[in-house]
Amino acid sequence: MKTDNRCRAVLMLPALTLALGLTGCATTGDKPTTTEEPARHTISEFSDQRFAEVDDPWERFNRNIYRFNYYFDKYLFLPVVSSYEFVTPTVIQKRISSFYNNLGEVKNLTNSLFQLKGEELATTFGRFLTNSTIGVGGLFDPATEFGLDRHDQDFGKTLGYWGVDSGPYLVLPIVGPSSLRDAGGLAVDSGIYYGIYSAIDPFGFTDNSFPIDTGITTLGAIDTRHQQSFRYYESGYPFEYSMVRFFYHKKREIELGKPQPTD
């Protein structure tokens, strides 16, 4: 019964996305009631290099998903996150975040390995070991106090490190800003994570392993959103979509260490 509901919820998402996408297309088809007159200042007077721009051939689709994420946040995700923040004492919230951040080290570990970054691999392994033991299964983060800095890695970065271009910008449902390459990377990271998880199957000995696993995943998603302060359309800046796109893309490209175009 529970499984059915969950499946339905999962199936609902693409359907909703599609529905929102279609309404978006429908509205853009509206005819203006009066004729347009050219603006006083247009791009034709522009004689400068374009700046802060990112390749985005699927912009209309992406903007639909961007709006979908806004509604998803507004009507489902953020209310759930707020309830979680309301009922959970701040100290516990911090422990939960540390716990999931520590699980995330698995992804950092595999990807420093894929990038053959020995020192980083050792640091991350040290962090994972320290926090899993002295840090009581990741509930605390003593590793940072010991000077072991966290190195965030993912398979998108690994691909980028080995020369794969980011490809077009992509806004993913719920997840948010990404790119074709990073979306692929996300799938691989999730695959590896669940592969390891199923191999270990920490709750396999109980009769309730499925609800426990689901609970862990759900809480993980809530914690991820709890740790992000970003809110869609909150800046009140009309070019927010373009700015988010630029900062997401540029930050990743810079952190990858790929050569940047010079003038």
């Binding site: 290099q49 966290r150 009309p238 373009s242």
Partner: protein, 432 residues
Amino acid sequence: MKHLRFLYIACLVLLPLTGYAADEGYYGYPLTGSYEATILGTPVDMIPELPAKIPTRQLVLDVIPDRIRPPIFFYDEGLRCTFAYQDKKAPLVFLIAGAGGSDRGTKLLTVMKALHQAGFHVITLPSPTNSNFIVSASGSRVPGHLTEDAADLYRAMEAAWQKVKGDIEVSSFHLGGYSLGASHAAFVAKLDEERQIFNFRKVLLINPPVSLYNSVTRIEEMIRQIPGGSKKQGVFFNKMLSRFSQFYRSGNFVAINDDFLYSMYTNELFSHEETAGLIGLTFRISLAGIIFSSDVMTNSGYVVPKNRVLHHTDPLFDYFLVSTHLSYFDFFNEYFYPYFQSMQPGLTKQALIDSLSLQSIEGYLKSSPKFGMMTNENDFILTRAELNYLRQLFGERGKIYPRGGHLGNLEYKDNLTYIVNFFKQGGEHHEN
């Protein structure tokens, strides 16, 4: 970072002593450059630790009923204000954001938390130049006119008060704002003398411009001095960005974070002029949002073709490029002044410029004891003469810090303490 942490601990231990030290003119804000302070703000370890979670509620106000919002602003459902409340009777402080700022800007929220911790109710308001305000709360939809903005703000504050007054007990009202928000606060306070809804007891102006037009002229000069002038800001931006990326790759950095930015400063990655250019460009990016939003709301055909209906899927990047290449003078001469001239025939350009200044209400500012003013010796939006003007105008009511640039030191502990104490004096006055 370790040094900073040590310094922070040292500050905590020596806290009882800093009071005396302050009397002797000691001021510990570390960044000496005006531009650098403005960009980097206050090092994290020098911002006092404020509670992560305080009771707040977001207010969405229907300030102008039946307002028609174009489809591009579908997400705008009313003016957004943030309300932090106490469970007992307390004074309420309204805070107004700086140019382009929303009700949830980082600096604004820090001041809000500091005041809340000290026992105040706080309501933060977006700047009248923020898109949300232009769409939902601006009567003219053309922001930047201090008297008109003040009337809009006053109406918004009344709406906010109507919304919360059943839930809290308020002993008195106060008002504060920074940068352009400080100019707004002065004009709102003046309006309040006539309307007398709030009877503000204390009004704090933080880093105010004396003349809005002069201050913006100075910022425009900062972008005009880049190679090729402001019409080549794209070339400049790309060049700076490329240097930024190369610097990141050359060092052993973990991520683009505070450590990295601080190291950028200590290595003098950008020259003084380049830093100025970056501040000027940031201003232009902010101004572009104002120009675009106002143009869409008034259907003036300034950067968006007249009668074009934009939808949420429409790419807007070309509008961004066009708008960022317009200066404040373009905006003022081609859009802002013509609008107010059409409303008020006979209005000269100089008269309009003069009205956008504290000088235009100096008699009131000079005589009213409710005002306080804080700014910095090296705030680049002021000339030396303007700084002296503020010094004379506010006399004992003014506090001028030796450094901090424009708002760079706002979150520094001494500054926050000063702000809190300023409003506390208003409370004491009330109880006597």
